[in-house]
Amino acid sequence: MKWIKWEEGLDAFIMWVYGPAGAGKSAIAQTIAEMCEEEMILLASFFFSRSDPSRSNVNPLIATIAYQMTLNLPQVREAILGAIERDPLIFSKSLAVQFKSLIVSPLQPLAEAGFFREQTARRLVIIDGLDECSDPKIQENILEVLGNSQRQHQLPLIFLFASRPEQHISLAFSTGILPNVTTCIALDESYLPDEDIRLFLTDKFQGIRSTHRLRTYIPPQWPLPNVLNQLVRNSSGQFIYASTVIHYVSSIRHKPTDRLDIVLAIRPPQKDLPFAELDALYTHIFTGVEEIEPVLEILSLLLLSDYLVLYLPTIEEFLFLQPGDVELYLGDLSSLVKIGSNQHIKILHASLTDFLLDLTRSKEFWINPRSRHTMFARRCLQLLHNGKQDHPTLKPVILIPKKKMTN
């Protein structure tokens, strides 16, 4: 917050918060967004998410920022609307052109009129999950465009990026003008995440005690301090562990006290591995699944398909399941996977994908991409060969595969 409020007088107009999966980057970005919104410093925020087709590519980025600008800075509203009226195809143009027309040009007259004269008047734009934007080249392009525009036009903007420290992103932040204008924060052991995780857990357990359907069976002192300590230790600095525990414990179909006892009884086989506790928790959840093969088949289809989003009826038809089966099968994974009201399945955290595709971590629950691709290829050929001409979904709909959307 000191950087945002210019209290440290840093020249950097970009902050990069990076850390591994589950470190809590998105949680931090979300909290900062809420705090800055309250203080009217937030200009816009965009949270990339590879499991959400509306947020997994760059297409909506500038449009979203521009829209939020019209809400948070009404003085630019006319200029932004004017730019869209003058060029209705603006959103199909390059990122640089969109940024210039919809962000730079509307802000410039205000800046020149002294609206942002005070350094503290600068506004924050948050871009979370940069690594979850579909194409690494586009991720670099976003950094390049924002960095160059900012340097060229001296806008009153500061940018907070959060992402995994992927090689190409690290490289982009260390070349060109970016190293001179960026301050970095690593979410590793050095930032002492344990206290934040303890706060998070305390707050969430309090929520469960006061709102859970079976709250009358929960003792007021639950969970005991030593249990909280153990959960913090088990987290090993990863928010995702704490978050998954909370999802698991707060299931409305179970008693939270029983669920927490189960979590505490889980013992990872090798404690020295980086995701040992998280993997043990994931393994435990998958072990509890009644029929694992169809569940892994559904998850494989989600992870390996060429589509950004898959809807329940498509999955059920493709896997020869009955309507409603996917929801039933995934019922045991409610702490990891969410089925939205639009019948679109969402994997709650990217670390689950990493887990399932890594044999050393998921072991018997490993999704073997090669053999799953073979299985799905055979299913496709079988369906093409057999045909089903009277099928109700046989209509000329052209969907957009991942590759095209990323372009």
């Binding site: 060429d306 498509t314 038809e317 073979t374 050929l381 060969h385 045909g387």
Partner: protein
């Protein structure tokens, strides 16, 4: 759902492991049961599917001199409803060779 199959077949094939079962499926593949579907699907989409599919076959079967005339896969493929529906491209075989092979 067929649109999903149509779009994803090549994707799965490209990343698949060539097993004897998959090999047999490819040899025996026919599109005759999808005539009605092919009548309503957008022609560009159909063309893209064929090109993707053939490109993919080239990768999957790993035959360096893969061509329309030597591959049993293509014999199977040629004898299908897609190829017989020539009306949308008079020089169908030429763009096969250019685009896909």
């Amino acid at each position: 759902m067929f649109v999903f199959v149509f779009d994803n077949t090549s994707h799965y094939l490209k990343n698949a492991e060539m097993t004897p079962q998959l090999h047999d499926d490819l040899i025996n593949l026919s599109f005759d049961n999808l005539l009605d579907f092919f009548k309503i699907v957008h022609l560009n989409h159909l063309r893209a599917f064929i090109v993707r599919f053939l490109n993919c076959l080239k990768t999957v079967v790993s035959i360096p001199s893969f061509s329309l005339t030597c591959s049993p896969y293509i014999y199977a493929f040629q004898d299908t409803a897609i190829i017989r529906r020539k009306s949308y491209s008079p020089d169908f075989s030429s763009w096969f060779r250019q685009d896909a092979l």
